[in-house]
């Protein structure tokens, strides 16, 4: 369980100056949840990720992960519980061959060789990387590199996987496959996922969406609940998925659409009900 209570954080930029990045943030994420985080540029998403992985420590409030307070003393224990993947795989891949990089984390944990081998094997399998296990990382495509980074995080068997815009450099079909893989891992391993994204459509695939604005949480709920606030989201620089926006417009025209509409399939179903409605 991630428990964030009244957390504030400012970056110190000079002797006096400080840039506030998070203020009074409260957030709880139960184990095994599948959560998306959205927010405008500079709203504090990456800062939150840094705090959760003990790269920075809160200037106010507390964070606990499975009961362990995130502070300097417990940093190594925290890092066993959470793994992080950043936007740019080039910044986080350490070794030069795929399987060596995946093994890097487990090696650091001092696990026995057999255990490492087994974890590497299952992580490579989960991300569909078995065939390219011996390749040099510099020869891979950006989508493949991002998969290697996730495999490396997964091999740590974390309680929570935290992803900071892992898909923003990928085209949508590649990103969708990646999200589907992460979803699958989340279900199978009961591993909690926090996923930062700028794609509203991607966010709508999660169980829960947290919306940040200027260092605060302003909305939190299921995608259907959150994306109902069309005007509110637009006001803070965000948006809703296209299908949700269309449904909003069509309803405003007085067309009655049943149910929550988040993606194109929902929209088609609702429209098909409208079309066959009069006859029924």
């Amino acid at each position: 369980m991630i428990e964030i209570e009244g957390v504030s954080f400012s970056y110190r930029t000079g002797e006096e100056d400080a840039v506030p990045a998070l203020s009074e943030l409260d957030l709880r994420v139960e184990p095994g949840r599948f959560v998306a985080i959205i927010g405008h540029n500079g709203s504090g998403k990456s800062t939150l990720v840094k705090l959760l992985t003990a790269i920075q420590y809160p200037t106010g409030g507390t964070i606990r992960i499975d009961g362990v307070p995130v502070d300097e003393e417990n940093q190594w224990e925290v890092r066993r519980k959470v793994s992080v993947v950043f936007q740019d795989p080039d910044d986080q891949l350490v070794m030069n061959r795929v399987e060596d990089d995946v093994a890097f984390g487990p090696e650091n944990l001092g696990l026995p060789r057999e255990e490492i081998a087994q974890r590497v094997e299952s992580s490579l399998g989960a991300l569909g990387l078995r065939e390219i296990r011996g390749r040099l990382i510099e020869d891979l495509s950006s989508g493949q590199k991002q998969r290697v980074a996730i495999a490396g995080a997964l091999a740590m068997r974390p309680r929570f996987l935290i992803l900071d815009e892992p898909t923003s450099l990928l085209p949508v079909p590649v990103a969708m496959r990646l999200v589907a893989t992460i979803r699958d891992l989340n279900r199978r391993e009961n591993m909690g996922v926090l996923h930062v994204t700028h794609s509203m459509h991607e966010a709508s695939l999660f169980d829960r969406v947290v919306v940040m604005e200027a260092g605060r949480k302003i909305l939190d709920g299921t995608p259907a609940e959150v994306f109902r606030h069309v005007e509110r989201l637009r006001k803070v620089g965000l948006d809703v998925p296209l299908a949700a926006s269309l449904a909003y417009r069509l309803r405003a025209r007085g067309i009655h659409l049943e149910g929550d509409i988040l993606d194109e399939t929902d929209l088609r179903a609702a429209l098909s009900a409208v079309r066959s409605g009069p006859q029924a």
Partner: protein, 268 residues
Amino acid sequence: MLELQRNVIFGQYVDTGSFIHRMDARIKLVITFVFVVASFLIGDFIGFGIVLLLLALIQIVSRIPVGFILRGSQFFLAFLLFILVFQVLFYPGEASNYLWRWWILSVSTEGLYTAGILGLRVIFLYHVTTMLMLTTSLVDLTNGLELIFAPLQRLRLPVNELVLVFVIAIKFVPIFIEEIERLARAQTARGVPFDQGGAVTRARRIGRLLVPIFISGFTRADTLTTAMNTRSYRGGRGRTKFRLMEARPSDWAVLALVLAWMIVAWLV
């Protein structure tokens, strides 16, 4: 534009899957050590001639093209040549056979001979270390070094940390090259060309890059260290190894061959 990676191959790894690539990293490290010692013991052209044959053999077996190595060493060779010219011109001591003399500058047979031997020695050292890196991946290099020096840990020497420093130093060369490339490209695109002007202008432009390159190089090293930390890397403490190292009989045979070859080169 520049593709400096073509001109500086020091620190690169190129996987051709050859016999040498598959050798145990520890044996390769020991062999490199033998070469280093040999380079100081051998002191005549015949000796280096024999060494050269072995280097050629290694080159062929590694399946790394010679042209690639030559182009990738041009900066290094140019620099070496520059040093050697000084070495010749300022040869100290009395020579018996002067070919040319002016003021304190001279060209003598002795000067040429010493500079020649020095040049060969440096090239020899450069070639074997470059080949070691070209044929050994970073993990193998790290693990190999840690295993070889593990006994020193009993003397309370921080072996893991020392190896880490060494590995980062090696990794830093390509990072450094990439940074030069990146900044030169960024500046060119925004109006300060690096591919135009005379040699002096270009050198001056590159000179002005040095400070920013170091700063951004360190920033990148910092990003990488943070990423390593988030993956539970604590300076190599408590680390176990995924890859098994296994010296095959053929690896030992190679070591024996190299040793014998070097002894011959030394004694002739």
